[in-house]
Symmetry: C2
């Protein structure tokens, strides 16, 4: 089990490629079979498989093979480590803006339904 | 001016290194002079300068030299591109959780002050 920092390294490195980000973007909507994932890219299947392996090693996606069809899914909570790190980087000014936002959400009257 | 995808590539690649993340973490608190940034790392100054250059090229930090002292600051809005991309990757279930959170913030009585 990689530690938090190693996990961040792997996730950030995996996402620092436009093809792999496009795959993640597609998978947030629903799982997909490999041939459908490959369709938008003018890319040989072995290259796509290599990208998928990087995403899988970083814990961002999982895949399952049924017969000859491999279905790829976004790992649940895949991006949590990144959300967590970004949350920790909030500057003092941003913390203040957060508190204002919560205050406004609580005190602004609800729109009539 | 790099486009959104190129900017994401650069930011993610820059952050996929624990030393560079530690520098960003330090700079969210306040600007710092290079020698102070170097202190926590057992690293030669030229290596740190190289990391700083990667962060600067990615638009994450800026630096200014006054006399012999170089002060490094987090670029304002440095991580916005990452917040934006992560926000776009919310799954349908997460959107539903967001709406619930806003509803709760609006309907939960305020604590007595």
């Amino acid at each position: 089990m990689p530690n938090y920092s190693e996990q961040l390294d792997a996730v950030l490195r995996a996402l620092a490629d436009p093809t792999r980000r496009a795959v993640v973007e597609r998978l947030t909507k629903s799982p997909a079979v490999v041939s459908d994932l490959a369709a938008p890219f003018s890319m040989a299947l072995p290259s796509l498989m290599q990208h998928l392996r990087v995403l899988e090693d970083a814990g961002l996606v999982t895949s399952e093979k049924h017969g000859r069809v491999r279905t790829v899914s976004l790992q649940s909570g895949a991006l949590d480590v990144l959300h967590l790190w970004l949350g920790e980087q909030r500057t003092p000014a941003e913390h203040q803006a957060d508190r204002l936002g919560i205050h406004l959400a609580r005190t602004t009257p609800k729109e009539p339904t």
